[in-house]
Amino acid sequence: MSADSSIAIVGAGMTRFGYTPNRDLRSLAHEAVTESLLDAGLGPRDVERVYLGYCLDLNGQRCIPGQIVLRDLGIDRVPITRIESACSSGSLAIHEAFRAVADGRAEVALAVGLEKMSGASADATRESMSGGADAELEAALGITFPGVFGMAARRHMHRYGTTLDQITAVSVKARRLAAMNQRAHFDTAVGADEVMASRMVADPLRLLHCCPLSDGCAAVVISRASRARRARGRPVMIRGVAQLSGDFHIPGDLTSFPETTRAAGLACEAAGFGIADVDLFEVHDCFAIAEIMHCEDLGLCEPGGGGRLLEEGATLPGGRCPVNPSGGMIGKGHPLGASGVAQLVELTEQLRQRSGSRQVPGARTGLAHCIGGFTLGRPASVAVTVVAI
């Protein structure tokens, strides 16, 4: 949809992502939502509509999680809608909050992404994760998500000559940047040898080629810039949003997700600028090969060139097309429902020039890309959000 250029992220907040078995959903949500409201210079009673991205149901709160976690913050008597779209749940919460402000249903809308993945048994977590594929055609037959991207990696290496060293370099970059991000799951860098010494998870992908299972919450407040005059930072305009389901009737070859290209094209068209005008990208690097694929599908390089793009340093914060300066999902962590919102928290801070040693110099435009679920070689959902300051 075309974006009303005055609708903005006026406040952003998030918890540190990580393994926090002693924190509950409420504690995570209260921290992130409070921070986002204070950042916006607004209060709980200003919120007229809430969208919550929440995915796995690993914590016993299978229904009404939004109402429960927001009740004691004083956010009640308003529409609260929970959105589930696997790992893109948070992105869609942002899109819906944006649309609610755009069409006048709310002056101030809150998008929250939340997930707690520690605390449940390893088996419950694994069963729940495989729910992101077709329950009967894939999950019941033994698919695993690392395996999906293990297959993609093998195909990409076969077709383009992408090397395991290049795939490993994605993880090394992610961890190096995460070590500069105080809210990242991992606070230490790793070398290629350490990545390659980690245990095999889904051949050829090893544990450190995979994002960790994290707990966390991220929140953004969306309104017209004029509604948040006491905000602590400049408003970050939402210029274009697009979401697509997979092109399920064209099986594809696992080296590319054309849905990414199309969704990014739609969001950029709404924004009125092209991919070449985007200063930084947060993309869905759930597994190291994925970042390479997304760079190609976004048009940052030619098909098959994602590994070389990385080796050239183009995707570092000071490079030609910075990708995942936050540390991405591999370094920052991946609480499924929270990740799509956390991408926009990162873009907001980057565009406000507040990202410290990870800062992309002079960034004025950003693009967030998130995929959710996967079936028979296609992402189930691709969401792209384009912002500018």
Binding site: D123, R126, E127, S130, A133, D134, E136, L137, E138, A140, L141, G142, I143, T144, P146, G147, V148, G150, M151, A152, R154, R155, H158, R199, M200, V201, A202, D203, P204, L205, H249, I250, P251, D253, L254, L376, G377
Partner: protein, 144 residues
């Protein structure tokens, strides 16, 4: 797919997905009588010609091409890792996910190799009873 020893049709993952003719097990699909579109599992309508014309019953080919594969070393408890799995294209538009039987030799697996559908145990239910389903196996003499 020939029934191997110990095969129990009532223990198939979805018995209604399979049909047996003269000892040969096949996967049931539907074909659009208008455009020929093949759908598995069997469907009620064609996604291209919806809502008419009617679909006819057919079966899937029992071999295909391995798009890619990986190995699960971590999986939910009902599975018994490690096991190999992959995507195989049976027709240009019908892709299946399946575990791969390779006699312990992953070196026998290659991208784009021909595979046959076979029947095998894919998981065990909460009582420890085996669940059977289609799997892939390299076509004898069909590597590459």
């Amino acid at each position: 797919m020939r029934a191997p020893s110990g095969f129990r049709p009532e223990r198939l993952n979805r018995p209604d997905w399979y049909v047996e003719r003269g000892g040969e097990w096949r996967l049931r699909a539907t074909r659009c009588t208008g455009c020929g579109w093949l759908t598995f599992p069997a469907a009620k309508v064609c996604p291209r010609c919806w809502p008419t014309p009617p679909l006819e019953e057919t079966v899937l080919p029992d071999s295909g091409t391995l798009l890619s594969w990986s190995t699960a070393t971590i999986a939910p408890l009902r599975f018994r890792p490690p096991y190999a799995f992959g995507y195989a294209d049976l027709t240009p538009t019908v892709r299946l996910f399946g575990q791969i039987e390779h006699d312990g030799d992953e070196g026998a697996l290659a991208l784009d190799m021909r595979i046959d559908l076979v029947l095998g145990v894919v998981s065990h239910d909460e009582k420890g009873e085996p669940v059977w389903a289609y799997k892939f196996a390299p076509t004898k003499g069909g590597a590459g």
